[in-house]
């Protein structure tokens, strides 16, 4: 039990440290994600910030993750811990799409 806990502790410290180095933001302005396509390293935390007067949310194409509705100036963060291409969209305004390319 002790061993498992300390391993988890080490893992979480590592994750936080490595993510911090690469933290990036995606802005939501005028019903668009900016940048619409972003390339990040595995483990990067992306923070989505809504600057619009209307709420938006972030939904992975196959609903692997989903944020709550973000009112003006609210944000949502997600750590992208698997390499590959992830398509997401706004569940309220589905014409808004974005892509995250996660490199190993």
């Amino acid at each position: 039990m002790k061993k498992a806990l300390s391993l988890a502790f080490v893992a979480s410290v590592f994750a936080v440290t490595s993510a911090r180095a690469d933290d990036v933001q995606v802005a939501i302005d005028n019903f668009a994600f900016t940048p619409a396509t972003i390339t990040v390293k595995k483990g990067t935390k992306i923070t989505f910030v809504n600057h619009d007067d209307l709420p938006h949310n972030i939904v992975e194409e196959k609903a692997a993750f989903k944020s709550k509705a973000l009112d003006t100036d609210e944000s949502y963060s997600h750590v992208f811990d698997k390499a590959g291409e992830i398509v997401y969209f706004c569940g309220l305004h589905p014409q808004m799409k974005g892509k995250v390319i996660v490199t190993p």
């Binding site: 019903f31 619009d52 569940g91 309220l92 589905p94 014409q95 799409k97």
Partner: protein, 309 residues
């Protein structure tokens, strides 16, 4: 046949002339033909009945486009109360609230109660963003409904169908009805004769107005297939905060204004977000407009008015 043609042409011409800015519309059904009348100026009809459509009240919105949508919604209710002929009921085509918060629904309920009318609702996407994804809406407004909130009812020989197209939206898509609701619709309409006037209401327009802004319903055409055999179909929507109308065969499509804030016409702005007008002009763009359908070949009577008048 000619009569119908004339009626359609005059309706189209009339609509072209209008500077729509309505906060609420009164629909009158006479001989199965609907027409929107000006709230506050509607004359008592000698036949049929009337009902009111309101939409997009967005209670809880507080941005510059309208810092106080409760006030403008209250003004719309006052207009409805001033009608010389009491409407049979009122429909709300969604976005009651801005963020699905209990306080927003509470505030709405308190104001709408002032109309003392039976209400029929469908949700907008803003009404289903609570933690439980629409449960708060269903608990308050969807008690008589099926599935995610769809239902039908009859009034004086007219069949009304409330549809829900704000769930399970797909990436890159638009409004969505879904297979379960479409199957229910087919079954619901099966029992109706083709001469029954049909009024369908839903939040997002059932027809495609601007795909790049998401202003349409991806599987709306499937619903229209089920409606094709009926002689008189009226589709009432909201969502786009401006009036648009299209007549196609026996189907009249119409969107109502918001009572909260205007949105830009497609192609006139970089995004469909709230349109802020200069201070003092808000009520000027939240006015009301009317179409009165007279009997026979008479042209439609059109009157424009605003809350500032």
């Amino acid at each position: 046949m000619d009569r119908d043609k004339d009626r359609d042409v005059s309706r189209r011409e009339a609509l072209r002339c209008m500077a729509w800015a309505g906060t609420g519309l009164v629909w009158t059904l006479s001989e199965g033909v609907p027409g929107a009348k000006l709230i506050g100026f509607a004359e008592a009809s000698t036949k049929g009945f009337s009902f009111v459509q309101i939409s997009d009240s967005h209670i809880g919105f507080n941005k510059p486009a309208n810092p106080d949508p409760s006030a403008t919604f209250g003004e719309a209710i006052a207009k409805i109360n001033a009608l010389p002929e009491k409407p049979a009921f009122m429909i709300h085509t969604g976005d009651i609230s801005h963020l699905s918060r209990p306080k927003e629904f509470d505030d709405f309920d308190q104001i709408v109660r002032g109309a003392k009318l039976d209400m029929h609702y469908v949700p907008g996407e803003h009404d289903v963003i609570d933690e439980k994804q629409g449960q708060a809406y269903l608990d308050r407004y969807g008690k008589r409904s099926r599935g995610k909130g769809w239902y039908s009812f009859d009034h004086s020989g007219v069949h009304f169908v409330g549809l829900v197209n704000v769930y399970d939206l797909k990436a890159g898509g638009m409004g969505n009805l879904g297979a379960e609701q479409l199957a229910w619709l087919a079954d619901d309409l099966r029992r109706k004769s083709a001469s029954t006037p049909i009024v369908v209401f839903a939040h997002i327009p059932l027809w495609i107005i601007a795909a790049d802004w998401g202003w349409g319903t991806s599987d709306g055409v499937e619903a229209l297939k089920h409606l094709a055999r009926f002689g008189s179909v009226t589709v009432l929507n909201g969502h786009i905060h401006q009036v648009m109308q299209k007549v196609e065969g026996n189907v009249t499509f119409h969107t109502a204004r918001s009572t909260a804030f205007p949105q830009p016409a497609p192609g006139t702005a970089p995004s469909p977000g709230p349109k802020t007008v200069p201070p003092g002009e808000l009520r000027g763009v939240l006015g009301v407009s009317s179409v009165t359908v007279a009997k026979g070949k008479q042209p439609l009577a059109i009157v424009d008015s605003t809350l500032a008048d």
